[in-house]
C-alpha cells in the first residue's frame, strides 16, 4: 500500500502540460488496445476475408458506407475497417514482443556491464554502439530476412526482428546510470555488508537504475510501429497471409491514389499516425512525470495574510531597534 502510494506520488504531483499529454496519450493508446483485444468482436470480418458467409464476394474498391465502414480495397476486396482493426492487434503484438524482449536483454546486460566494468564492459559497449549506429530500418530488414527462414512470416518473426535494434538503447542508458550509481554510498555499504556481486546487482543496483526504462520503452514502441509499417511497406516482415498489417496495406494503396480511391490508404495511414502519436505522448508525459528535474510540481496556491493581522497575532512590532 505504501509502495503504491510512493509510485503514484510523482503522478499526483504533475501539473498542466505533463498531465494532459500523458492523459491524451493514454486515451489514444487505450483505444487501440481495445481494438486489438476485442478485434474478433469489433471487426465485422476477418482480415483476409473477401466474401460474405454465403459466398458473395465483397465489392471491389467500394467507398465507405453500408457494410464497409471504411470501404473495401481494390486488390482482393478486403474490408478496410476489419483490416485496420486486425492490424491493431498485429501492431501491438509485434511491438510488445519486441519491446519486452529488448528490455529483458538490454537492461540486465546494462546493469551487469556497468557494474563489472573491465573487458566485458568495453566489448559490450563497442558492440552496442556499433548496433546503435546502424540505421535501424536497415538492421530490421536484415534481421527480418534472416529470421523469415527460421520463423516464417508471422508476428513472432517480425517481433524478434525488431528486438535487436532496440537493445542498445536500454543497454546504454541503464549502463550509464549504473556506472554512476555504483559509486553511491549505499552500494559501498552493500559491499561493506559482505554482499556478493550478484546480490549487489539485483538488490542494490537494478531497482535504482531502471527509472528511465518505461520512458524508453514507450518511445521505442512508437518507433517500432513505424518500423514495422516500413517493413510491411517494403513487403518484408509480416506476410499478408499471416496477419493484417497497416504498412502492407499502405503499399497496396499506392496504386489507388491515382484512381481517386482514398480510403484504402488514408485509414491505415491514420491508424499508424494515431498509434505512434499516442505512444509518443505517453512516453513524453512519463518523462515529464518521472524525471524529477523536469517535473514541475503542482504548487498549492496561497496568499500572504496582510501584515497587520500577523503582527497583531504575533505580538510583534513592539520593539526598540
Amino acid at each position: 500500500m505504501a509502495l503504491a502510494a510512493r509510485v503514484l506520488s510523482p503522478f499526483r504531483q504533475t501539473t498542466g502540460f505533463a498531465r494532459w499529454i500523458l492523459l491524451a496519450g493514454i486515451v489514444l493508446v487505450t483505444g487501440f488496445v481495445i481494438l486489438a483485444v476485442f478485434a474478433p468482436w469489433i471487426a465485422p470480418f476477418d482480415f483476409a476475408q473477401t466474401r460474405y458467409a454465403d459466398g458473395t464476394r465483397f465489392p471491389k474498391g467500394a467507398p465507405p458506407g453500408g457494410d464497409f465502414l471504411m470501404g473495401t480495397t481494390s486488390f482482393g476486396s478486403y474490408d478496410v475497417f476489419s483490416r485496420v482493426v486486425w492490424g491493431s492487434r498485429t501492431a501491438l503484438q509485434v511491438v510488445i514482443i519486441s519491446v519486452v524482449l529488448s528490455l529483458l536483454i538490454g537492461a540486465p546486460l546494462g546493469v551487469i556491464s556497468g557494474f563489472l566494468g573491465g573487458a566485458l564492459d568495453r566489448v559490450l559497449v563497442l558492440v552496442m554502439d556499433a548496433l546503435y549506429a546502424f540505421p535501424s530500418l536497415l538492421l530490421a530488414i536484415v534481421f527480418a530476412f534472416l529470421l523469415s527462414d527460421l520463423f516464417g512470416g508471422g508476428v513472432a518473426a517480425a517481433g524478434v526482428a525488431l528486438t535487436v535494434i532496440y537493445i542498445p538503447q536500454y543497454f546504454r542508458v541503464v549502463r550509464n546510470t549504473t556506472v554512476s550509481a555504483r559509486e553511491a554510498t549505499y552500494v559501498e555499504a552493500a559491499r561493506a555488508m559482505g554482499a556478493p556481486k550478484r546480490t549487489i546487482i539485483t538488490r542494490y543496483l537494478f531497482g535504482n537504475v531502471v527509472q528511465s526504462v518505461p520512458v524508453i520503452g514507450t518511445l521505442n514502441a512508437a518507433d517500432a510501429i513505424g518500423t514495422l509499417a516500413a517493413l510491411g511497406f517494403l513487403g518484408i516482415g509480416i506476410q499478408p497471409g499471416e496477419a493484417a498489417e497497416w504498412g502492407y496495406d499502405l503499399q497496396r494503396a499506392l496504386a489507388d491514389a491515382g484512381a481517386g480511391i482514398w480510403w484504402t490508404g488514408v485509414f491505415p495511414g491514420l491508424a499508424i499516425v494515431l498509434l505512434v502519436t499516442g505512444l509518443t505522448l505517453v512516453g513524453e508525459g512519463l518523462n515529464e512525470t518521472v524525471n524529477p528535474t523536469l517535473r514541475r510540481r503542482k504548487l498549492r496556491p496561497f496568499t500572504l495574510p496582510p501584515r497587520g493581522a500577523v503582527a497583531f497575532e504575533a505580538g510583534k512590532g513592539q520593539v526598540d531597534l
Partner: protein, 451 residues
C-alpha cells in the same frame, strides 16, 4: 535539556592488538588527461596512504583525524578491505570463541572474494552521509536485516526478531513503526541510527565510523555520539572514528592519530595530544578550531598555503611548506621558492611585478621538485641576486631561508641550492609519537629522494 553525565571512558582492558597494520600503502592511479592516456604515458599515482604502522587495541576508540587528502578515509576503508592495499599488511586477530573460531589471524589485505566477505561479520562500517547510505528501494526492515540474509544467519520470523531488537537498541522504538518505512520518510538522525543498526546486527568486533555525525545538525550530533558510546559499552565494540572535527575526537576517542597527506604525523592518548600537541600541524589544527566563545580569542598564526597535491607531495616532510617552525633539514626545494616569489609579488605593484617576473625568467622550472635550480637565465645575474636579497631582507624570518644552503651567481643565472632534507618517521617523544625532526631533537632518518 539537562547535561548528560559524561560517559565513563572505558580504557582498553588490554594492550592486545586487535588489528595490526604494518607499512600500509594504498596507491591510486590517476586518470590523467585524455592526451596522456592516448599516448599511453604514465599518468601518475596518488599515494593516499603512504606508510602507516598502527595497532588498534581491543576496546578502544581510535580517532583518525585529518583534513581532506590526509588518507584517513582511505585508511578506514582499507582496514575493512573495501579498497585494495598496494603494500604492507593488515592483520586481524579474531577473538577466541567468536563465531566458533579459535582466534585465528587473518590478513585482511590478502583476502579476496568469499573469504573477504565472511570477514564482514566482524568488521563493519558506519558511513558519513545518512541520506545516501541506505538503499532507496528497500524499507528499513529489509535494509537492516539484509546482512543477516546475505550471510545466511537468519531468516523469516527469526530475522524479523533480530531486526526489531537491533532497531530498539539504536533507539528506533517502537520498532514496528519504523520497519515498514522507506529512507525518505526518516530524518537524518533516524537514518543514521538505522545505518548503525545495520552495522551492529552482525555482532561485529570492530566498527569503522567515517564521519558519522558531520552531516547532522548540531543538536542531533550529541545524540548519535551518545548512542555510539552506549553501544560500545554494551556490546564491547572497538571503534575507529574518522573525522576532521578535532573537538568531537577529543570527546569521543581514547587515542588520536593526526594524519597529513597519507601519513600519521602524531599519535598518542587523547589527553596528551590535546594538552601538549607537538607536531606543528597538530598545533595549527587545534588553534584553528573556532570556539563558540567570543572572549576566548587567541592570536592565531595560521599556517600558510593549503594541502598540497597528493600526486606530487613536497620533498622531505610533507608539511614543511606550511610549517611556521621548519628548519634546514625539513626538505626545502624548488617549489617552495616559487611560493616565496608569489607571496612577495602579492605585495608588489603590478609594474614592479612585471619587471621582477621578467628578471626571474621562466617560472615553470620551479615546478620541478629538486634541490637546486637556476633562476634568471639570460638575465643579469647580479640583478637577480639583488632581487633575492631584497626579498630576504623583507622577511628574513621566513623558514625557507634556513633551508637555503647557497645562492650563487653562475654563468647562466643564479643558482639556488637547498640543504639536504629528511622525511621524518614516527618517533616517541614524551608520551606520544611524532613525525617531526624537532621531536625529539637531534635524531635524523633516511634522506628523501626527489620526485
Amino acid at each position: 535539556m539537562p547535561t548528560k553525565p559524561e560517559a565513563p571512558q572505558t580504557s582498553p582492558t588490554s594492550t592486545d592488538g586487535l588489528i595490526d597494520i604494518e607499512g600500509l600503502e594504498v596507491h591510486f592511479d590517476l586518470r590523467g588527461g585524455t592526451f596522456k592516456r592516448l599516448l599511453g604515458m604514465d599518468t601518475g599515482t596518488v599515494k593516499a596512504v603512504d606508510g602507516v604502522d598502527i595497532s588498534l587495541r581491543r576496546g578502544e576508540v581510535l580517532g583518525l583525524v585529518g583534513e581532506s587528502g590526509s588518507g584517513k578515509t582511505t585508511l578506514g576503508r582499507a582496514i575493512l578491505g573495501l579498497v585494495p592495499s598496494t603494500k604492507g599488511s593488515i592483520t586481524y586477530h579474531e577473538g577466541r570463541g567468536r563465531n566458533g573460531g579459535d582466534g585465528v589471524d587473518r590478513v585482511v589485505s590478502e583476502l579476496r572474494g568469499g573469504d573477504l566477505r565472511r570477514l564482514r561479520t566482524d568488521l563493519q562500517m558506519v558511513f558519513q552521509d545518512p541520506h545516501a547510505a541506505l538503499n532507496p528501494s528497500m524499507n528499513i526492515e529489509t535494509a537492516v536485516g539484509h546482512p543477516l540474509k546475505i550471510h545466511g544467519i537468519a531468516k523469516g520470523a527469526e530475522l524479523k526478531k533480530l531486526v526489531a531488537a537491533a532497531l530498539e537498541r539504536v533507539g528506533l522504538a517502537p520498532a514496528e513503526q519504523f520497519m515498514s518505512k522507506f529512507p525518505p520518510d526518516l530524518s537524518g538522525g533516524q537514518k543514521q541510527r538505522a545505518v548503525i543498526a545495520r552495522a551492529i546486527i552482525l555482532d561485529p568486533e570492530v566498527l569503522v565510523a567515517d564521519e558519522p555525525v558531520s552531516m547532522l545538525d548540531m543538536s542531533v550530533r550529541a545524540k548519535i555520539l551518545q548512542l555510539m558510546l552506549d553501544l560500545k559499552n554494551d556490546l564491547g565494540l572497538t571503534y575507529v572514528y574518522i573525522t576532521h572535527d578535532l573537538a568531537s575526537a577529543k570527546f569521543f576517542c581514547d587515542r588520536v592519530a593526526i594524519m597529513y597527506l597519507g601519513r600519521i604525523v602524531e599519535i598518542g592518548p587523547t589527553e596528551e595530544i590535546f594538552a601538549d600537541p607537538k607536531h606543528p600541524y597538530t598545533k595549527a589544527l587545534l588553534q584553528a578550531i573556532p570556539e563558540p566563545d567570543p572572549d576566548k580569542m587567541v592570536p592565531r598564526d595560521l599556517p600558510r598555503g593549503e594541502i598540497p597535491d597528493a600526486a606530487q607531495p613536497p620533498m622531505g616532510c610533507s608539511f614543511h611548506p606550511r610549517c611556521p617552525v621548519a628548519v634546514a633539514e625539513c626538505g626545502w626545494e624548488t617549489r617552495d621558492l616559487r611560493s616565496l616569489l608569489e607571496e612577495h609579488w602579492l605585495r608588489q605593484d603590478p609594474v614592479v611585478y612585471e619587471e621582477e617576473k621578467e628578471l626571474v625568467g621562466d617560472l615553470d622550472v620551479l615546478d620541478e621538485p629538486g634541490k637546486t635550480v637556476t633562476l634568471g637565465k639570460g638575465q643579469s645575474s647580479s640583478r637577480v641576486k639583488d632581487l633575492l636579497d631584497r626579498i630576504r631582507a623583507e622577511n628574513a624570518d621566513d623558514p625557507l631561508w634556513k633551508g637555503v644552503e647557497s645562492v650563487e651567481e653562475a654563468a647562466d643565472g643564479v643558482r639556488v641550492t637547498f640543504h639536504q632534507g629528511y622525511d621524518p618517521l614516527l618517533r616517541p617523544s614524551g608520551g606520544v609519537e611524532v613525525a617531526c625532526v624537532l621531536h625529539p631533537t637531534a635524531v635524523t632518518t633516511e634522506p628523501s629522494l626527489p620526485g
